[in-house]
């Protein structure tokens, strides 16, 4: 066997023998993961391997582990945070089915922020080509800034069912944010602004276009 074939075979064997977690990482991420103690790293690797086996995105899990490393967090905290994210990704997948990685990550953030899995179900059956990413991003952020979970959920679901596009979610976020900065209670700010949001009849097909929608962005 030639030298080049031997090298190729050795490389193949090495890559196959490595766990999926290690194979999928960038070298820089591997270096930083090495800062974890053996027990913590092993636990994180198991969680990431579980995500790989289930077809879930792994980058959100690694990102949390790396944040914990930079924060110099305790190993138990890092494992708990990564585990919580894995559970949220898994739950979002069960509720929503196959969606792209960004949407699944955003949906998991909504769950971690405090939304209930059944509140995601509104987004399960959606027209082909329509993305729920903006809705999830704004929803998670509203809860994170103090809007009651039920209020945020019903407001976002209502807009979604009425066919709101990215610009509508964006303007809602901007307006609520500016009201909160002016001292308004977060829940009241949302209630006020959701009444102003442009309503549209529910749609059953095709992505929305911005035509005919008023952009209420205040900034």
């Amino acid at each position: 066997m030639s030298r080049s074939r031997l090298v190729g075979l050795a490389t193949l064997l090495l890559s196959v023998s490595l766990p999926p977690f290690v194979r999928a990482q960038e070298p820089e991420q591997q270096d930083r993961m090495a800062k974890l103690d053996i027990k913590t790293r092993g636990a994180v690797e198991l969680l990431v391997d579980s995500a790989v086996a289930e077809g879930l995105p792994t980058q959100p899990l690694r990102s949390i582990a790396l944040l914990g490393i930079t924060r110099k967090a305790d190993g138990k905290q890092i494992i708990a945070a990564v585990h919580r994210k894995l559970i949220a990704l898994r739950t979002a997948r069960v509720v929503l089915g196959r969606v792209d990685t960004l949407e699944l990550d955003a949906a998991s953030s909504v769950l971690i922020a405090g939304a209930k899995p059944n509140q995601l179900e509104t987004f399960k059956n959606r027209p082909r080509g329509r993305s729920d990413l903006s809705a999830f991003i704004v929803w998670a952020d509203l809860i994170g800034r103090g809007v009651p979970g039920e209020d945020a959920s019903s407001a976002i679901a209502r807009l979604w069912e009425e066919g709101a596009d990215d610009a509508t979610f964006q303007s809602l976020w901007n307006n609520v944010q500016s009201d909160i900065l002016r001292g308004l209670n977060p829940g009241t700010a949302l209630q006020n602004r959701i009444r102003e949001a442009p309503g549209r009849p529910p749609t059953t097909k095709g992505p929305q276009t911005p035509e005919g929608q008023e952009n209420k962005r205040s900034e």
Partner: protein, 90 residues
């Protein structure tokens, strides 16, 4: 590209850390503008909800005073939030 700005007149160095750079303090150093204490950097961001913070002199974490806050990062601290939706950012 998305621009980040922080005022830290006493700082010797400031870094931007976030989920977009693996929270690596060495990856995105900010640049000081003259004597004003203004530090800036511009980075590309994908669509999504990005968490970030500023790290002053390698040890002190600061939130962005001009951005909303995500209250808990899983480690008992808060981070700032940059929302990037299609075509624009929040």
């Amino acid at each position: 590209m998305y621009k980040f700005v922080i005022v830290a007149p006493q700082a010797d160095k400031v870094s931007l850390v976030g989920d977009f750079n693996d929270w690596d303090v060495s990856k995105t150093p900010m640049i000081r503008s003259g004597q004003s204490g203004l530090w800036t950097v511009a980075v590309p961001l994908s669509v999504g909800r990005h968490l970030y913070a500023f790290v002053v002199d390698g040890t002190t974490w600061l939130q962005d005073p001009s951005a909303p806050i995500a209250p808990d990062d899983g480690f008992g601290r808060a981070n700032s939030v940059k929302l990037v939706v299609r075509g624009s950012s929040l």
